[in-house]
């Protein structure tokens, strides 16, 4: 492992260095924002509300430290390595504990490695965070192609399958021969694909947005048809949640799936980018709105939200990150054929609550299933301690000496 990792030509240390001019330009654009009139409703049913985005922009321009995300990233060991012709940025933090379990965590959209920063301490240094030495992980947190400081692909083909294969290469390049993988959102798709590819060394996966929807249910959702008969209460609830998502909550995903390039505002307008990134799902939007009203839910604070948006602005990756929707050919919530041991945590404010019945069918080697009582789509970001507890429990059976 050591020999590969320390080959400087292959893996280069990386530091974020944002030129002052870029920050000045951002400040100038924020100050010059030209606003639309207020929405004509008193809720979020027409999209991101003017009061929310104006509160965000006000905080951005007056209180937010534009170098905050840079400082946070630069406190961590960051690297760049070329995989399949593309420079991949990743954070790599090793545990002080021996026998730590290597873990690759993948973020989603509209996220980035920023979502994962607060779980790094608890995962790599459990004894300082209420855990025991046997809970330790070495963590690898890559930026997906076109996201953050990873290179923007200049050719097509970087779909979740390609990314999953790149991650397998990355872990191999780092010399890890036994490791686990975790993800939510796109990270969950990529992690599922890794679990379906089942490369040597991948001991198991954990997902907080599992793909469990049976084919007949998926078909009914895609065609807007009625729910198949015979669903349990839990399954019916999941169907209703996904049905709402597909009819009312998927405009952003459809646009990025069909026409990511048309969203020029993501490159040219900070307010447009911020609004687009806030409008992911009703629950996280509600929590982020609360944050800008001064009532953050969990760790999803104003500064955290702006770290992510500011990094996306400064790397000009609004459109390149959206292209992943264009590339994708997998059903978001479909079963992906995972064959390795799999663990699932169900967060109560996730897009849908995966029923245990579907989860058991989707992941034949289900080693862990738990429904927790708080957390939205951005589980690691909003509830880092809970998320960490889940990962420790999920993977404990796969550690040395405790698995076959």
């Amino acid at each position: 492992m050591v020999s590969t990792f320390e080959t400087a030509t292959e893996i280069r240390p990386f530091h974020v260095e944002i030129p002052e001019e870029a920050l000045d330009d951002l400040r100038g654009r924020i100050a010059a924002t030209r606003w639309p009139e207020k929405e004509t409703v008193n809720d979020q049913t027409q999209g991101v509300q003017l009061a929310t985005i104006q509160a965000l922009v006000r905080y951005w321009s007056t209180h937010y430290d534009f170098r905050r995300f840079e400082a946070r990233l630069n406190e961590l060991p960051q690297f760049m390595t070329e995989i399949d012709g593309l420079d991949i940025h990743f954070i790599h933090v090793k545990s002080p504990h021996e026998d730590a379990l290597p873990l690759i965590i993948t973020h989603g959209w509209p996220g980035s490695v920023i979502e994962m920063l607060n779980v790094i301490g608890p995962l790599t240094d459990p004894t300082a965070h209420g855990g025991s030495a046997e809970d330790a992980f070495d963590v690898v947190i890559p930026s997906m192609p076109g996201y953050g400081f990873s290179e923007r692909p200049a050719t097509t083909g970087w779909d979740p399958i390609h990314i999953a294969r790149a991650w397998i290469q990355l872990m191999k390049g780092l010399g890890y021969t036994r490791y686990v993988a975790q993800g939510g959102d796109w990270g969950a798709q990529i992690t599922d694909v890794m679990g379906a590819e089942a490369p040597p060394g991948l001991l198991g996966i954990h997902s907080n947005m599992p793909g469990t929807v049976p084919p007949e249910v998926s078909k009914a959702l895609a065609t807007g048809g009625p729910a198949p008969t015979g669903l349990s209460d839990e399954e019916s609830r999941a169907f209703e949640q996904l049905s709402f998502l597909y009819t009312k909550g998927i405009g952003y995903a459809t646009e990025m799936n069909l026409r990511p390039q048309t969203l020029y505002g993501l490159a040219d307008s900070p307010a447009a980018l911020a609004a687009w990134m806030l409008d992911h799902d009703a629950q996280s939007y509600e929590d982020i709105t609360a944050a800008f009203e001064g009532n953050a839910v969990g760790n999803l604070t104003r500064d955290e939200v702006l770290d992510n948006i500011t990094m996306t602005w400064l790397t000009n990756t609004g459109i390149s990150s959206g292209r992943l929707y264009w590339e994708n050919t997998l059903g978001f919530f479909d079963v992906k054929g995972v064959s390795v041991p799999a663990a699932v945590s169900v967060f109560p404010r996730e897009l849908y609550q995966a029923p245990r019945s579907w989860t058991e069918k989707a992941y034949p080697k289900l080693i862990y299933f738990n429904e927790v009582d708080q957390g939205n789509h951005f589980a690691a970001w909003q509830e880092p301690d809970l998320f960490t507890t889940e990962l420790r429990a999920a993977f404990s059976s796969l550690r040395n000496g405790r698995s076959s």
Binding site: P36, Q46, V48, M256, Q261, Y264, A272, W276, S320
Partner: protein, 397 residues
Amino acid sequence: MSATVETAVEVRPFQVEVSEEELADLLRRIAATRWPSKELVADRSQGVQLSTLQALAGYWSTDYDWRKAEARLNALPQFTTEIDGVDIHFIHVKSQHEDALPLIMTHGWPGSVIELLEAVGPVTDPTAHGGRAEDAFDLVLPSLPGYGFSGEPDDVGWDPGRIARAWAELMHRLGYTRYVAQGGDLGAAVTDAMGRQAPEGLLGIHMNLLVTTLGGGPTPDDSDEAHAALDALATFRATGFGYFLEQATRPQTIGYALLDSPVALAAWMLDHDTDSYQKITNAFVDGHPAGGLTRDHILDNITLYWLTGTGASAARAYWESGRATALAAGEAPPNVSVPVGFTTFADEIFRAPRSWVEGSYPNLMYFNEVDKGGHFAAWEEPDVFAKEVRAAFKSLR
């Protein structure tokens, strides 16, 4: 009629006056555009291509002159009048010919009254444009609520049905007791609604988009042309629906880009349908416009949206339509009782076969297929369009 129209409190003359500062701000923003990386494909399949939009921005900031558009608008009699709480802007051109038939024409999205300006001459002054005095219309071109110089509604409910009722009130206020209505795109939805409401005085309607079918209405017939139309509709729903869904569900979210970034607005407005996108791209990249879809005309329309700051409010019309559909809960609307004319333009999103139009409008008085012109028929082919409108309404004079 004159007694009503000249009541100054109700119908006020209107002139477009844009300040130099607003134009300077626009130019500054275009010059300061921060571009994304180029799309990864060699066609429009990822959206508006960087080269198209950069050509547009280049022309916008160097050769384009908004003052010409302003002068074109101000050369026409324009008015505003408050209807149902919203100031409605409209152009009102009377024909010199007696017995001209009053006609209210409604634009769509991403259009405005700009798309109908080329048709004003042929429609109101037929003898100067290859027609006869008997073909003359008095023309009313309103700006939809939330579009152009009309006011932006601050309450919900401005769906096509409510707009249709406002148009009937407008025609009534102008003193017209016998008139016809025409529209494409959202204007077709409004015109269709007028036909269903059948206000007193409405003699008939003509449309150039079959909105009933777009919304999932009947598609009878097993002919080749019906199959081709079904395929075109399926393609649109599968690959061209992003802007539609976003505007129908989250207009405010996209609105921030449309208000703050001129190129974001331009790109969003260019990405309507494949045919018009290609024609507009040709106009900017190769300098080969299709008919009236010239660079200047395209930018007149985009600049109007920018200067009036109506990107979000215009998009909201889709949300309103969606809400109205949900409220109707599948209940069939009343039939159109007035006579209907319809023209299928060759390059429209789908070529509606006669059987489909008859299926939606049993009272079909006129149907024709023409061999050129796309979604923006009046804009692209004003002469063909005017001929169709003349022919469609001939029997109602």
